[in-house]
Symmetry: C3
Subunit: 184 residues, 3 copies
């Protein structure tokens, strides 16, 4: 009898192991509480083209504001901005942000972004694709990571945006907290 209960005991332990495995599996999709599988913090530096600063400019307006309110509604800007690991514009870039944004509100400065983070360093090779709305007056704004390639194959997640330095019509810096919740 003792031998029997010991045998049951072994199976009971194994069964518990399976149940715990199975419950983990059924939670494979991240909950809102889940921690990112990867977290990258980068600063994007955007220097606006004014016609005479080709050497430095990293962004240019492709269209003009349409005159709907005072917040540049309708202006589409295209950028190829360096990304650094700290706030310093002159730090070595570790990635580039390539894409566009446009102003889309007549009552507030608000932009809509779609861009690709392009990594080509010893640390990472690949891209992260991002889109979403950037209501600039909010301290933190949230964009979607909708896909990736290379080291970021098929990734998904969130980019948290915060504006840092800002010089009207000249320069702005965006802190990006890239939080990836699906890594392969």
């Amino acid at each position: 009898m003792m031998e029997l209960s010991k045998r049951y005991g072994v199976f009971f332990l194994l069964i518990c192991l399976f149940l715990s495995l199975a419950s983990q599996l059924s939670l494979a999709r991240p909950s809102r509480k889940l921690k990112p599988c990867k977290h990258i913090v980068l600063y994007m530096h955007d220097i606006i083209f004014k016609g005479n600063n080709s050497a430095n400019a990293t962004e240019a307006a492709a269209t003009s504001p349409v005159g709907l309110g005072p917040f540049s509604f309708g202006q589409v800007s295209i950028f190829d901005d360096p990304m650094t690991k700290d706030q310093n514009l002159h730090s070595p870039p570790v990635a580039r942000a390539q894409g566009f944004y446009f102003y889309d509100m007549k009552t507030a400065p608000s932009a809509w972004f779609a861009y690709t983070l392009v990594f080509n360093s010893t640390e990472y090779k690949g891209t992260i694709n991002v889109m979403g709305s950037d209501f600039i007056p909010a301290k933190t704004r949230y964009l979607s990571v909708v896909g990736g390639t290379g080291d970021f194959f098929m990734t998904r997640g969130i980019v948290e945006l915060q504006t840092g330095g800002f010089v009207l019509y000249e320069y702005f810096r965006l802190k990006m907290d890239v939080k990836l919740y699906e890594c392969y």
Copy 2:
């Protein structure tokens, strides 16, 4: 012998339980038949800017048609449109649709859309990011929900579009059936 078969019976039941659990897990990804985990129906109201209607306008063309066919090919429009729960333009907005579209066919009115649904109400706070092709002559068109933030963290799904009211060069209304198949 009876005792033995009883013992086997217990394990057999447990094994069946595991197998059934495992098969459910392997089907965790939604099939085409799957019901949405969330279904939101909203109406987008778009009032076109004509230069003298700043107070009402919610959309403006950032570029002009290029002259390739009669369906405004090449015109890019940017919008910040109120979304209501019913068809009435004057109902209280429960979200905004912020983004752009452009006409892209020379033989038919067809647009390409990318936009963010921005929710900031007691019901929902967060965003839903959408993109896809809108062949306007079709009764129903299908766009992709490619990501979300806040209450819609990491969501994916489909937006079904149907045109409602339409006044050429002035106004259109789009019914959006937002069907989310991945909720976190």
Copy 3:
């Protein structure tokens, strides 16, 4: 005793089966090595509108280059391009690519794309939505498949781009290896 070890043997086999099932489940998300669940190879043909070729043109610039470098920085182009199964422009189209791209680098020809592959044939009905950066000098570039509808409901994956024929300011052909890693 023999009977006992035989009995253990049976359970041991079943346990191995469960463990192997469980480990497969925990790998349900595709690894980088995973094979696509669907692989479609198509060729996109893009004929640039020059003002007098309406009959043939499939793409037109909606904005002009801004003068930041020699690589058309800031030019936004909109297209509705036929997709064929082989390299021949005159083969019957099996899909269309509808979307836009813009040039975004001052030191190299590089474009940013977002578009929808629209299928409406006996083989496939539905759409595939794509976005990403296209650094043209690279032999192969990688974009993200961020969603789909119809036969491509909720799909995700990668598009591999390679430039084929190319006539400056007139025509280019892009080979697209559409590799889908999530199929429903």
